[in-house]
């Protein structure tokens, strides 16, 4: 067993020291009836690296990767290039194989990078403070909703018709469990501002998204104004972090809480996880925030150092009074995010956003030129929805046969959204002109 250092001699020597006859002694508290004789059945025995690697390679080979051909799937996760140095950094033993920095004197590496991460996220979202990450965008959204209820002592949240349906589902689930009323607006490509018409004195917060699930970008300022009038909060959501380089960020729209998915920066697609939830808010809400926070302090010599702070919000100290039950978050993904942002810098980040937007514009131009294609998204960053006369599922299947993975059908996200013919397509810096041409050619054939 290559991962088990104890030799048979070690084991008996240790049993000797302990004064036990065999390891069975340690399991005496296990009820007789639950003691297994021998190994668990129906499972193979241990295998060497070569055999295991071959098995996994076979499984991997059954999947089509986002780099195998023209690829336009977005809807909450995006195909971006991750610099090789980012992956090298997160594989560094001292980052990869350590734990939550409970002992700051020997965790300054993790803590300083978290402090850098928090600063970057706050700046990107134009918010006052950001935490050290959540599981992902959808759970951040749910936590934002319940946080808003704690802050306002109200029990009603309103979700826009453009909020990613998975985010809406995760939010509804947590809210309902806590007896919070959830108002879900009708699915709408361009309906974020509708939120303004659904704020009342019971409303804890309204949750809007820009770019939304259909790719529509919206300045939520009008919503913020109405919400604030009613002493409700605006939670501003994004699923494409790269958009923050170009699109009006939550902070500039008066958002009280900004949540989003950070995968696009530094993290591969990996079939949906692990990703990194971004969570930022205004200064005055800090003590109601969920999740870990890293703060600056000094050591016994007066030298600057960093520690986890405001833990009185957290479960390990506050238990049933905690702001959330989150413990492990997305530390390593946050490191990938912050390392990639450090490589980009403000300049590179903006340029990356511009390239994404241009790719999407080129794609839109190419598809728009095809008779029968109707682009539904009025304003977008790197993703948009369009309609064809043919059922979207059929269209995507036919595109697939032609080697083009053309996007996501709206009906998969919104089964009852009456959007059977709608496809949501995304383009990024990885999208080439050839990819776009291939998409247009294939689509022309199938509709």
């Amino acid at each position: 067993m290559r991962y088990l250092p104890l030799t048979p001699e070690d084991r008996s020597a240790m049993l000797n020291t302990i004064g036990a006859a065999s390891v069975d002694d340690f399991y005496e508290d296990v009820p007789e009836s639950a003691r297994l004789d021998g190994k668990i059945r129906d499972l193979p025995d241990h295998q060497g690296e070569l055999a295991v690697e071959r098995h996994l390679a076979r499984l991997a080979a059954k999947n089509t990767t986002a780099s195998d051909g023209p690829f336009f799937v977005g809807a909450g996760a995006y195909k971006h290039h991750v610099p090789a140095s980012v992956d090298m950094i997160i594989q560094r033993s001292e980052f990869l194989t350590t734990y939550t920095p409970y002992q700051p004197e020997i965790a300054q590496g993790t803590l300083q990078t978290l402090f850098e991460f928090q600063t970057q996220v706050a700046e990107m979202t134009a918010m006052d403070v950001a935490n050290a990450s959540m599981y992902d965008g959808s759970t951040s959204c749910a936590e934002a909703a319940v946080m808003a209820c704690r802050v306002t002592r109200r029990k009603k949240v309103v979700l826009s018709g453009g909020l990613h349906p998975h985010y809406a589902a995760a939010t509804r689930l947590l809210c309902e469990a806590q007896g919070i009323e959830v108002v879900q607006l009708e699915p709408a490509v361009d309906g974020e501002l509708e939120l303004a018409n659904h704020v009342d004195d019971e409303t804890a917060c309204v949750i809007g998204q820009s770019p939304n699930v259909f790719g529509t970008v919206t300045d939520l300022s009008p919503v913020a104004d109405v919400a604030h009038e009613k002493k409700a909060l605006l939670v501003s959501v994004f699923t494409e972090a790269v958009s923050l380089g170009l699109v009006t960020p939550p902070g500039e729209m008066g958002a009280d809480i900004a949540v989003g998915e950070g995968q696009s920066i530094g993290n591969p697609l990996t079939f949906g996880g692990p990703y990194v939830g971004l969570f930022a808010c205004t200064q005055k809400l800090v003590r109601q925030m969920p999740g870990r926070l890293c703060g600056e302090t000094v050591d016994a010599d007066g030298e600057r150092g960093f520690v986890l702070t405001l833990s009185t919000r957290e479960q390990h100290i506050r238990r049933d009074k905690a702001t959330s039950n989150i413990c492990t978050n997305s530390g390593l993904c946050a490191l990938a995010f912050t390392a990639h942002m450090t490589l980009l810098g403000g300049t590179g980040f903006k340029q990356l956003a511009e390239l994404n937007h241009e790719a999407a514009c080129d794609l839109a131009d190419a598809l728009e030129a095809i008779p029968g294609v109707n682009i539904l998204t009025p304003r977008f960053f790197n993703e948009f929805a369009f309609e064809t006369p043919v059922d979207a599922e059929a269209v995507l299947a036919m595109l697939d046969e032609r080697g083009v993975i053309g996007g996501v059908r709206a009906s998969r996200l919104l089964p009852d959204g009456h959007m059977g013919n709608v496809i949501i397509a995304a383009a990024t810096e990885c999208t080439t002109q050839e990819d776009i041409a291939a998409y247009a050619a294939a689509l022309k054939e199938v509709i």
Binding site: R2, A13, M14, I18, D29, A34, I40, H46, Q47, V52, E53, L56, R58, L59, T64, F71, G76, S85, I89, T98, Y99, T100, Q103, P104, E105, I106, A107, G109, L114, T119, A126, V129, D136, S138, A170, L173, L174, A177, Q178, V217, V247, E252, L269, G272, G273, E296, T297, A300, D301, H316, C327, T328, G331, L332, T342, G345, G346, F380, F381, E429
Partner: protein, 522 residues
Amino acid sequence: MGMQSIGRPTAPVAANASMSQTVSGSKGLQQREDLIFEVGAWDKTGVDLPQPKGGKSRLGGVTRKADTSLPGLSEPEAVRHYMRLSQKNYAIDLGLFPLGSCTMKHNPRLNEKAARMPGFADIHPMQPQRTIQGALQLIDELASWLKTLTGMPAVAMSPKAGAHGELCGMLAIRQALIARGESDTRKRVLVPASAHGTNPATAIQCGFIVDEIKADARGRVDMEDLRGKLESGDDIAGIMLTNPNTCGLFETDIKEIADLIHAAGGYFYCDGANFNAIVGRVRPGDLGVDAMHINLHKTFSTPHGGGGPGSGPTVLSEALAPYAPVPYVVKDEDGFRLVEDIEGEASEAFGRMVAFHGQMGMFVRALTYMLSHGADGLKQVAEDAVLNANYVQARLKGVMTPAFEGYCMHEALFSDAFAAEGIGTIDIAKAIIDEGYHPMTMYFPLVVHGAMLIEPTETESKQELDRFCDALASVAKRAAAGDEALKGAPYFAPKKRLDETRAARKPILKWTPPTPEAIAAE
């Protein structure tokens, strides 16, 4: 301070005497490194992107007013920045990491290699299911390993970490109660005082009320107290019990507890964080458990990465299986399929917890680990983990105070009773840092005074355990003797003891540019 000798040659002097400072701030291989905001430059970048063609825009004016003012670094500087920072971290790869309840075992490198296969790392959660059959098969294989190892009929794969798995289990219980029409009456959840903070927090997140149960002198659930709390049991939703528990002990009466809870009409949530102690030897399904999360980053060796990501698949009993959240993978004649909507076969599902399908990257690592160990290896894992913990307990019980009588399971728990007046658990922990080790878990569980919870895991050799025990024993002796020097520890770490009170009093949570005054002051 070699400087002092300038001008008047002196004989060679001892290190600490002659050199305590350097001009650069670095010392030998230990590099000083400031924040990127201090070392980076605003116009620098470590990427070469093509120039945007410009001209096109469909943003409709919804554009950012102020560009992000973030510094960048060229690749050489960025790599160096993070390498230097990494030097200030402890890690399993450097030595024993005995953080009790966290199961910091070796992270096999094959796991990392497998997770980076493009067939897993470069696939999108929403691509056509025809194109991801391998991914769905992997999830299905991992699921069946988990079901077989736990002896449970169902598993929810989407929870993102242990606490999220707790949420999953408790929401399933809530849904079952709704189905029974008792969700409004049954709100009380029993939680031992020794429980991990996430347990009560989770119960509250699900709208339940927490009722704390006592521990007995043996560190187990106080059955008297439990029976008492169950007398008027018609408001009982269930119990959240960790087993082996957070004192590192197996709950002797666990089956009776399960029976009592079920008799009272409640459900049994088992916190599976400590599954490593029994994997391959005991199946929670045989103990009457209704729901249990498994921390893949503990029992199944996925790296914790300094704070995550984790992954918390949650196994469910027959009673709770119907309420499992979407999405999940099913296999039928034409291959594997994702059930994503709450309808048909999934009409009773309690909902969707998260976008997409869970922590695929962790699934790949965990399955790689399981295939590597196999049924025989996993049993050995549990036995060696327990053997190592008992060895540590045996080696240290003479100089420290075991919290409870008898053998432990995967972790050894001590109280600070042995320490002299004025020397606390924290001083012992910090002194261990100087000896080259990460401290044990401090002050948890709460039921033991100045608790020190030591979990070596099975991936430590006897030599390493001996070296650690020798070091801790010597620190313990110093603590017993009231050595005040312990209060100054750590001495050899990158930083001296950090002021956490100050950090919390006036939180500085991000870097802000120095004010002109500050600059002037320099």
